[in-house]
């Protein structure tokens, strides 16, 4: 996976990765795209099998940054990452071949606290715990980003979106608790 200088976006089928989504593909004509403020997107790629994926999440109940253990145990972040990894594995990726890039986590305005930084830290700690190498990051700062990712080739491009209006108060997408059924 490497930073690409240009993307032939005209010929690509663009799929928007909205907050809460976890998408993966092996299609060479697919381009995942998203706009991030304080949210984080993780791009995963397995170059051995040409599988790539992207998610887009905002932690619903981030732990204090200093609380490393609790931070990693965030069930909403874990759920988003597990969905993404499962989508990768279903398309032929292997755990040992997956590499990652992290984007987003900006501080979009005063008063939003450290939400962006919490999202970045969760992603870093999760990937370290899963032994998934992080090839690059474009995170933090005070501006929104547009990320484009070609999943088959593993090519990513991240641009600061300077014209982006101040982020509305972004709320986590509710993740419903799963059903329990005893047979």
């Amino acid at each position: 996976m490497s930073q690409m200088s240009t993307i032939a976006a005209m010929e690509m089928r663009r799929l928007t990765v909205a907050q809460g989504d976890s998408l993966a593909s092996t299609d060479p004509d697919v381009l995942f795209t998203t706009v991030l403020g304080s949210c984080v997107a993780v791009c995963l790629h397995d170059g051995n099998f040409g599988v790539g994926g992207m998610n887009h999440f905002l932690l619903a109940d981030p732990a204090p940054l200093a609380d490393e253990g609790s931070h990693l145990l965030n069930r909403y972040g874990l759920h988003s990452m597990e969905l993404l990894i499962n989508e990768m594995l279903k398309r032929g990726a292997t755990r040992g071949g997956i590499k990652a890039r992290i984007y987003g986590g900006a501080k979009m305005r005063e008063g939003l606290g450290e939400i962006g930084q919490c999202n970045i830290e969760f992603a870093r700690r999760f990937l370290a715990n899963e032994r998934i190498p992080v090839l690059g990051e474009d995170v933090g700062g005070f501006s929104a980003r547009r990320v484009e990712f070609r999943p088959k080739a593993g090519l990513a491009r991240c641009k600061i979106v300077s014209s982006q209006p101040p982020e509305r108060l972004v709320k986590p997408v509710p993740v419903s608790i799963g059903d329990v059924e005893l047979f």
Binding site: E82, K90, N129, G178, V180, F183
Partner: protein
């Protein structure tokens, strides 16, 4: 004496989350990273219950349930599936293979504990 639970999941983070959720409710936890690893762990230790993921390398959750139910020394153990999968087809497959219950992630700690206590009762 605290009840022993074998958790089977290929994600170290999910195993960590499960360990935290179960130990705080008084259960003793030991872990395996996939179906093959679980069968190896069960050679030397017998839990009161198994909680297994479905999507795992080497041997998935379905394979583990089938292996345990087909004459294994631990054939009578309750097996709860804990998975991101919510399809009726996969749920039916697990039930037919002999699973005791099906829990969809993300899980609620109290609901998971309640389901375990009900199964172990």
């Amino acid at each position: 004496m605290s009840r022993r639970i074998l958790t089977v999941d290929d994600s170290p983070s999910m195993r960590m989350l499960l360990r935290a959720a179960l130990t705080e409710q008084g259960f003793t936890v030991f872990e395996a990273e996939d179906g093959v690893d679980a069968l190896e762990k069960l050679e030397s230790a017998t839990p009161d219950l198994v909680i297994t993921d479905i999507n795992m390398p080497r041997m998935d959750g379905f394979g583990l349930i089938e292996a345990l139910r087909s004459g294994h020394a631990c054939a009578g153990l309750p097996i709860l599936v804990l998975t991101t999968e919510a399809s009726d087809e996969k749920k039916a497959r697990a039930r037919n293979a002999g699973a005791t219950g099906w829990i969809v992630k993300p899980f609620d700690r109290e609901k998971l504990g309640a389901a375990i206590r009900r199964v172990l009762h």
